[in-house]
């Protein structure tokens, strides 16, 4: 009799544990009521951010990569299809090609993709509590996997936060570059990487990007990144010289007028 009672208690406990597990794992989308105003705010902010035109296919350029004093020069062929061909012919012993490729990919990627934006728009966007933050209103993406959120102020994205590959990344935009027609490019921003479990700061990166108008496209020709990590500071600089941009025929939509421009 006693054994039966114990078995019953165990079964009940297992049932509750399983039910609780299912509840925890369930995606909260079904319970969250999306706020149309949050979509509208994000859409407007997205439109104010300048991206390369859809017809942009890639570019070639001479690259100067400087990692804390180790300078290397070479040729780059970048394709939006995902290939980054970096040939440091002048520095065959260049050992730090990986960071240069990663940095170039990130630097150009910031001006390309609408994928992340599209991904966010697929979630039930809501506003966070209005905390009167100086960086604006909090828009919650309500994605359980990335816990992503954005900050929007005066129609511009001022901050973004998401957890990817076990790292919490917080981007804070310090200054934007007006390029005319009410559109902007990020000029100075920081990225903080935190341990999502402990909150410990793993590293921070501060960026300043400069742009030039080439073939009617605002192109990032130089960027400087200061990384703080493991008790030291490293400075990375990437410069593109003589960039030649490629576009898909026939139209080059999304071009901008000659108004405005970087300082």
């Amino acid at each position: 009799m006693m054994r039966r009672i114990i078995v019953c208690i165990l079964l009940v406990a297992l049932f509750f544990a399983s039910a609780f597990g299912q509840t925890s794992a369930a995606h909260p989308d079904a319970e969250i009521k999306a706020d149309p105003a949050a979509y509208s705010m994000l859409r407007d902010a997205r439109q104010a951010r300048y991206y390369f035109p859809e017809s942009f296919q890639g570019f070639t350029a001479t690259v100067v990569a400087d990692e804390n004093g180790k300078v290397a020069r070479g040729d780059l062929d970048y394709s939006v299809r995902g290939s980054v061909d970096l040939d440091m012919k002048d520095d065959p012993g260049f050992e730090e090609e990986a960071w240069a490729v990663a940095e170039i990919t990130a630097m150009i990627g910031r001006h390309l993709s609408q994928d992340l934006f599209k991904e966010y728009m697929g979630h039930p966007l809501t506003f966070g509590r209005d905390d009167h933050s100086p960086i604006g209103r909090l828009v919650l993406v309500n994605d359980l996997a990335t816990k992503a959120s954005l900050r929007i102020r005066d129609g511009r994205i001022t901050g973004a936060e998401r957890t990817v590959n076990g790292q919490r990344r917080i981007i804070s935009v310090l200054e934007v570059e007006p390029i005319g027609e009410g559109r902007f490019l990020p000029h100075a921003f920081t990225v903080s990487y935190l341990d999502p479990r402990t909150g410990e700061i793993k590293r921070t990166e501060a960026y300043v990007t400069e742009y030039k108008r080439i073939d009617d496209v605002w192109f990032p020709f130089r960027h400087q990144m200061i990384r703080t990590e493991k008790g030291k500071i490293t400075t990375h600089v990437i410069e593109f010289h003589k960039p030649r941009l490629r576009f898909s025929p026939p139209s080059q939509s999304g071009r901008l007028s000659q108004e405005g421009g970087p300082r």
Binding site: D66, N68, G69, K70, V71, D131, H132, S133, P134, I135, G159, E161, I170, S172, L174, E175, A188, T190, S192, L194, T198, G199, E200, I201, K202, R203, T204, A206, V208, Q224, I226, T228, E229, K230, G231, K232, I233, T235, H236, V237
Partner: protein, 264 residues
């Protein structure tokens, strides 16, 4: 019995040797793990070229004129969403007084006054010879960093500067248990070949462990008041203890005072 004593002695010797090795290794590890600048040489040889370079570079930084005597200004504070207004009264040689007029920022919060004083202290003209210039300044090893040549001050704060194109790009100091590095990302011209910092970051490390404790990234804006460049606003993005917060200080209607005598 004698054999046992001999055996015990050997063990004791081995133990002592092990303890000594551990202690020595511990000391070596501590030295290797110490962060930031290597300790100054006991008697470093001052390099006049380095001394002059730092002096000339410091002169390209914009400072208030030596007759600057103080100011009174309205300030608007936004501490990550908590807003307050206050009046600040600052006198060179007499300190600062911050009177909160209203809002949500805790009046006892020390960061506001600290931040304001920090802004003003960095704009006040200083006498190089009586500050960094009194130390035996020399060059550190040329590591060809994009941030420029490293100059060692050889002071008690283990200060280092990096200089590139005649401008300071990095300041590195250790005060007590805190090691911090200021990295200048961008400056704005202030006329007559002088510059003001616009974007810079300050990274704070535990001087013992090297752990990054927090980082502050700044964006400073300036306004011309009575012929001098006065701060208009400062935006600070702080990453610390699992969160990132933004603080803004704005200066409105600043009234500048000048004194006949130059105060330092």
């Amino acid at each position: 019995m004698r054999r046992t004593i001999l055996y015990l002695n050997t063990i004791l010797c081995l133990l002592c040797l092990t303890l000594f090795s551990i202690a020595a290794l511990g000391q070596t590890t501590t030295t290797a793990n110490q962060l930031g600048p290597e300790p100054s040489k006991a008697d470093p040889k001052a390099d006049p070229v380095a001394w002059n370079l730092l002096k000339e570079t410091r002169e390209t930084r914009y400072y208030f004129p030596p007759q600057f005597g103080g100011f009174t200004s309205d300030v608007v504070i936004n501490d990550n969403g908590k807003i307050a207004t206050a009046v600040i009264n600052y006198d060179v040689g007499g300190g600062a007084d911050l009177q909160f007029k209203g809002g949500e920022v805790d009046e006892t919060s020390p960061w506001v006054l600290e931040a304001v004083l920090n802004i003003i202290r960095h704009r006040r003209s200083t006498d190089f010879e009586s500050r960094d210039g009194r130390y035996p300044i020399c060059f550190a090893e040329d590591d060809k960093a994009p941030a420029g040549r490293r100059v060692t001050v050889n002071d008690t704060m283990k200060s280092f500067y990096r200089i590139r194109d005649g401008r300071v790009t990095e300041v590195d100091r250790t005060i007590g248990g805190e090691h911090f590095i200021i990295s200048v990302l961008e400056e704005v011209p202030a006329g007559q070949g002088r510059y003001l910092p616009r974007h810079f970051t300050v990274s704070y490390f535990d001087a013992k462990t090297g752990a990054l404790t927090h980082t502050d990234t700044y964006m400073d804006e300036y306004q011309q008041v009575d012929g001098l460049w006065f701060p208009a606003s400062e935006r600070i993005v702080r990453a610390e203890s699992g969160k990132v917060i933004t603080r803004i200080i704005e200066f409105h209607n600043p009234q500048i005072r000048y004194s006949k005598e130059v105060k330092r």
